[in-house]
Symmetry: C2
Subunit: 345 residues, 2 copies
Amino acid sequence: MTSDRYSIGVDLGGTNLRISAYREVGESPDGIIDSIALPTRVSDGPVAVVADMAGAIKGLLDKHGRGSHFAGVGIGTPGPLELPEGVMRNPPNLPGFDGFPLREALAQAIGEAVVIESDANLAALAEFRLGSGKTYAVPSLCMLTLGTGVGNGIILDGKILDGNNGMAGEAGHNTVIADGEDCPCGSKGCLELYASATGVQRMAAASRTLQRQQAHSPEDAAAPTALDVANLALEGDEFALTVFARVGTALGIGIGALVNTLNLPLYVVGGGVSAAWDLFAPRMIEELRMRSYVYRLTAPSAEESRQRSPRKTHVVRAELGSDAGILGACLLPLGFAASGLGLSG
Amino acid sequence: MTSDRYSIGVDLGGTNLRISAYREVGESPDGIIDSIALPTRVSDGPVAVVADMAGAIKGLLDKHGRGSHFAGVGIGTPGPLELPEGVMRNPPNLPGFDGFPLREALAQAIGEAVVIESDANLAALAEFRLGSGKTYAVPSLCMLTLGTGVGNGIILDGKILDGNNGMAGEAGHNTVIADGEDCPCGSKGCLELYASATGVQRMAAASRTLQRQQAHSPEDAAAPTALDVANLALEGDEFALTVFARVGTALGIGIGALVNTLNLPLYVVGGGVSAAWDLFAPRMIEELRMRSYVYRLTAPSAEESRQRSPRKTHVVRAELGSDAGILGACLLPLGFAASGLGLSG
């Protein structure tokens, strides 16, 4: 009955800006029918960035129409984001955006209502509607996105958990090593420091082994990327394997706490580092079994994993790739915005 | 309109069994109109314990009536408890109860429907309806009950968060010190090891200072209780103060992760150890500020604390005392049972 509706999603990153039109038919990751990619002009300030967004959105609206089949505009931003106001709170990758009322500014610029969420919440929403959440047919899930940082989004009974200020789902900054490394967030030993691409790089850079292996490179060679470290691990390099074991340990501790706290049926690990799933997942599951008796009581057998038993706790790799964020932004105006959970306002 | 309704609550502990009748009028902690206290005959097995419960409940029903003003029976048990079945899963303080279908056994014995929950979830429900949740007029809260262990219950939008198997709210076993002490749950460094009465005792027993101070006692003198340690701390004993600082640090790390994950407006600390609030709270808040940028962004000023500002994150001492569990059991049949949150069945 809503088969010809479409929405527009915006994914605001610290480097790239993407604006897509998404057709609802069949609800699939293939629903993106049009996309515009732009650089994010961070140094020109938020007003310039909003003008770029508005221009691209107006172009898509002119092309696809503003009629009743147009469902609205959704936008995802790096956190923290204050909701329901839609005001950005000191986002590390978008200097100059602190306190900027992004939702309202964009709504005024395009003359349409705008729904806003943090990008990690939107990745979780997309994974819930179009990825593993659909495959496992669960009402709720918790997702960790292992990218430059570790994003987190929680879907409860089909809706994003926003919390009281829009800041629920920041488990990437939960402590996993109490006396661990300093984190730019002001804390120490955050999950993000050990399970992000940046974390993999940092742990690898600390390796004398790896430095020795790179001794034949010019001195000004770039530091190994997370992908380099993964490739070394796949070749059997012991230190690179140790780095991914640390990723697995940190994820096991972090997810263990999320299982004990929320007892959801599905925990999903996505983002670029999740491509190294085979390198960290065995250690992650082993640590998780130790850390969470709720997990031990509800862990699926191999057969229950295959059957996706609904009463078990499944920990899986995300099905959607790097499009999860923009897909979530497109889904937001289609009736999947956050519930009032935890909201007092 | 329901002003003459009453309910019956049962609080099943490892030592004591309490059965109370509760009158709904005015919804207050003073609503308990009748109580029966019995020892829990653990060694006689679950069937004997259910017979004791049923006898007491029948006595209260005969006295107060089974008419339309009777709202039902609620029971709280130590966790873990599998829901919706109401089957106990290896409760540490009730050996012999593993796999026992408590809800069904009690329902059959009394010929009435029975609603069941873990005791920490019920303490949170009572605190939400009758204690600080009422004072702060919030829709959601997270409670930690510092007793023999550390219980946890989460109320989201007025309903208990049960999770997929009834095991949400087990944050007492979230890791706070990754390489910490072994926990009977099979993990290491659980919050419970540093913030429970048992934890206070264990940390104090490890103190040579304290042992020296007790050197004048007979050799077979009982180990200092958590209360003894609190009294020493109040007298300025440095080691005892250190013990409570460790309680505060562990709580700050644990609550920090709960704030990052859930972003609720209210976190409540109850149970016996919370009487030592003044000894651990300053360190707890200091650690929490460091561990959670979500807390830093939403922490109330002194004035906002006084005004109980709804958009702030409040961390407070529980208002209800040791009756929280039984009060929660009494509230359960009065329309405050869990939502379907996170439930797939």
